[in-house]
């Protein structure tokens, strides 16, 4: 059986699915630092101005007041930094737990090792929680990660925030998404994201749609402030075009822009941008791993018309365990995926064929028949168990399968 893998485990290639695990806390730590920087800069500026603008001849009372004000600013900075430091410590704790989890895999030598099973189980739970979060099954995700004590290995808060913004966007509310853009301004600029412009345009569309004069004026002011000014004229032009076309227009691209479907477009764009920014894969990793696994395990037999007999209980008990692809859980799901590629047959040792055209390894057939209590010299098709017909052993024929 040349196709059987060596059981040696190469952790580095096995970690393919695990990059996001370490990426996300790191990106969040960066964001945390950026926020700290911003707070410090603004406090620095405020403190310097209030002290520099103080005239040397100022009254002591004014000086004191100015000092009190700066002191308050410094204290507020301290509070903010304390909150950020706390967040940082949480992230460090997660990071430590995650590195430890990956280190566990490096301590496993072979895939036969029990430790590998344990590790795989934790990975499965992680992938499940990730899937649940992405589908919006937030309570299940929380319950599962708590039950398995893997809260430091999953990103519940991150996905709950995403979910929150996403559903607000689908309701047509862009405020929270804009706030998120504000928090991630620099990073968004770096990747050249147009998310914020799209959101601003959405606000413009909402104002324009009313058709009221006052709102229209507001819309124009809004467009001047947020949509024009950059080098990119695209959004300014769009706004201009929208002013010229009423909400019931049939003219494209304006009809699409007025359409309610735009809210789900924005939600999708937000998700893409978010996942891109934090190096999160766009698909649940469970899908990636599962489709690969289904294919690797699948054989043409799994959806064959003759399958039911093949994986019958008797075989299951005394022979191979029931095939996961044949089981109810995964059978339908695996229907569409390609089956594994094999270049060589692998059969049970010393295959023989029964008069009913079914093939078994001779030794195993013998063992199965013994368990079924078939008298010596006689043989029965074990997949038919007790209902099966019985033949003389001499009717078995050897088959040659290369």
């Amino acid at each position: 059986m040349a196709e059987v893998a060596t059981s040696k485990l190469d952790p580095d290639s096995h970690l393919l699915l695990d990059q996001p695990l370490l990426r996300l806390p790191h990106e969040l730590l960066r964001k945390n630092l950026k926020t700290a920087q911003r707070h410090i800069e603004s406090t620095h500026k405020a403190v310097s101005t209030s002290i520099d603008t103080l005239k040397p001849a100022a009254k002591p009372a004014d000086t004191l007041a100015a000092l009190e004000a700066t002191l308050a600013k410094a204290q507020s900075l301290k509070r903010k930094l304390e909150a950020l430091h706390e967040e940082e410590q949480t992230l460090h704790r997660q990071q430590r737990a995650r590195i430890g989890h990956l280190q566990d895999l490096h301590d496993v030598q072979t895939v036969d090792d029990v430790k590998f099973d344990n590790w795989s189980e934790v990975r499965l739970d992680r992938l499940l929680v990730d899937y649940l979060l992405r589908q919006g099954y937030s309570s299940s995700a929380r319950a599962l990660s708590a039950a398995k004590s893997i809260t430091d290995l999953v990103d519940i808060e991150v996905f709950e925030e995403v979910r929150h913004i996403d559903s607000a966007l689908r309701r047509g509310d862009v405020k929270e998404a804009l706030a998120w853009c504000g928090e991630n301004k620099q990073a968004l600029k770096k990747i050249g994201s147009q998310l914020e412009l799209e959101l601003r345009l959405q606000q413009f569309i909402a104002l324009r749609r009313t058709g009221e004069m006052g709102k229209l004026m507001e819309a124009v002011v809004h467009a001047r402030k947020h949509l024009v000014g950059g080098l990119d004229t695209e959004f300014g032009l769009k706004a201009g075009g929208l002013l010229a076309h009423p909400p019931n227009t049939m003219v494209e691209p304006y009809a699409t822009m007025y359409s309610p479907a735009r809210s789900s477009y924005l939600a999708t764009l937000f998700l893409q941008t978010h996942h891109n920014l934090y190096s999160l894969p766009s698909q649940p990793l469970l899908h990636t791993a599962l489709s690969a696994g289904l294919s690797a395990l699948k054989t043409p037999t799994c959806h064959s018309l003759h399958r039911a007999q093949l994986s019958s209980p008797a075989i299951a008990l005394v022979g191979n365990p029931v095939c996961p692809i044949c089981s109810t859980e995964l059978n339908e799901l695996a229907r569409g995926v390609p089956y594994a590629h094999h270049t060589k047959s692998h059969m049970e040792e010393d295959p023989v064929v029964l008069p009913n055209d079914r093939v078994f390894g001779r030794e195993r057939l013998k063992m199965l028949n013994e368990k079924l209590g078939v008298p010596g010299g006689r043989v029965r098709d074990p997949t038919e168990a007790l209902r099966g017909r019985e033949w003389s052993e001499t009717e078995l024929r050897r088959v040659y399968i290369s």
Binding site: S138, L317, N320, E348
Partner: protein, 433 residues
């Protein structure tokens, strides 16, 4: 991995905001002392203010430096991270038809629900089913096209106790469950299994397992299971090795009387083993050093029997003993690196798979992941399918149907590709492998 760990140590040890916080504290102290000084002597205010400027600037410089150190730490970590994963791009979803799974959310959800049940996470499972239900309801309200069958959710709903009371009594449990795995009592079944397993594994209490096995004795026998005997054997050993300081011989008597009543009920196929067990009694109290010691005093017996129990229990439900989802994900983890590599090459060479139904490359898995025999035609190198099944020639060689037809090409006689024997194509037999 070490580089990552080191970089992380630096972050946790020094490259964090704690220093900046200290320096903000000293900034506050500086401002406070200046304020107090001015409050004490207002006349000197301009002087104090002038004296404040330089240290104030220094304070902020120090805080900036603190942040720079954090930044440096993060950069180092980032470098280690990139290094660690330099050979693996982020997994794309593009392995084969994986996007297909996204459109089968319902089936994925069902697989997860069953997985949670068989893991014994009943509360999580019920939360999950509730959420799936709620979301489906929401989608329906939103007028979205919910053709998706969430009917399985109903199957998971807890049923009234009454309608199932007699099920275990029926004895044809298997018939009833066959092909109806998603039905409501699945949860009940698994919770029964975990109750018994808990007693077995954690409390070394055999009674629930023995009761269950006796109850299902006929079905288990039918399948050639030896669970019932293994349980009795363990019970015997437990009785024998129970230490009773007051009366050392009582344990032997207990074991003997248990053996007398129980072992004769088993079929003759266990004769040898029962004989060995009884003989073991003769070696008391020096069992540890006797030839039977290793056989009888083995902690792993409990684990073995627990596993045997799980296997038989799930197999009466016609389910694999380990979660299919778990097996599939582990197999996926092993196969992904290869598939990823192929995909990279395919993209680079703009190649395409020649067969949509089959992976383009072998994804070798350990032997524990092989569940079916596989027949690959030695002529065409293709795997047998229902449409192209293996055919047995009269000489005993097997080739695929299409290969046979290709070799025959309408002629009335065909020569086996592997031996000199000729036969008529109609003589070939279809095999079921």
């Amino acid at each position: 991995m070490e580089a990552l760990q080191q970089a992380h140590e630096t972050l946790e040890g020094s490259a964090n905001l704690s220093k900046a916080l200290q320096d903000v504290d000293s900034l506050i102290a500086l401002l406070t002392s200046t304020r107090d000084a001015i409050a004490d002597g207002p006349d000197m205010a301009p002087l104090h203010m002038a004296k404040l400027k330089a240290p104030l600037k220094q304070s902020f410089d120090r805080i900036d430096d603190d942040l720079k150190e954090v930044n440096k730490g993060l950069n180092q970590y980032n470098k280690a991270l990139k290094d660690k994963f330099k050979n693996s791009s982020l997994p794309t979803a593009g392995v084969g038809e994986s996007s297909g799974l996204a459109s089968q959310k319902n089936l994925v959800d069902r697989a997860i629900a069953m997985h949670l049940l068989r893991e014994g996470k009943f509360e999580v499972a019920s939360t999950f089913v509730k959420e799936v239900n709620a979301q489906a309801g929401q989608d329906r309200e939103d007028g979205e096209n919910v053709e998706v069958e969430t009917r399985w959710v109903e199957d998971f709903a807890e049923q009234d106790d009454n309608d199932e009371m007699d099920e275990d009594e029926d004895g044809d449990l298997n018939e009833e469950l066959y092909g109806e795995l998603g039905k409501g009592h699945l949860q009940r079944k698994f919770s029964e299994m975990y109750r018994i397993l808990d007693a077995l594994r954690n409390q070394h209490n055999l009674t629930p397992a023995i009761d269950w096995a006796r109850h299902h004795s006929a079905e288990l026998d039918d399948r050639g299971s030896n669970l019932e005997f293994e349980l009795s054997r363990l019970k015997f050993i437990e009785l024998y090795t129970a230490t009773q300081p007051s009366d050392p011989s009582s344990s032997i008597l207990h074991a003997l009387s248990y053996a007398r009543t129980t072992f004769p009920t088993f079929t003759p196929r266990y004769e040898r083993e029962t004989a060995a067990l009884i003989t073991g009694l003769a070696y008391s109290p020096n069992l540890t050093t006797s030839p039977y010691g290793s056989q009888l005093l083995n902690e792993s017996l409990w684990t073995t029997v627990s596993n045997l129990f799980t296997r038989d229990f799930t197999s009466l439900l016609n389910l694999p003993s380990t979660s299919p989802l778990s097996t599939a994900i582990t197999a996926g983890g092993l196969a992904l690196p290869i598939l990823q590599k192929v995909e990279r090459i395919m993209t680079a060479t703009r190649g395409q798979w020649t067969s949509v139904n089959e992976l383009p490359v072998e994804t070798p898995l350990p032997s524990g992941f092989m569940f079916h025999s596989v027949f690959v035609c030695p002529v065409s190198k293709e795997q047998a399918t229902d449409a192209n099944p293996p055919m047995l020639l009269p000489c005993g060689h097997v080739i695929a149907k299409e290969s046979l037809e290709g070799t025959a090409r309408g002629k009335s006689r065909v020569k086996c590709p592997y031996c000199p024997m000729e036969s008529r194509p109609g003589e070939a037999r279809r095999l079921y492998i």
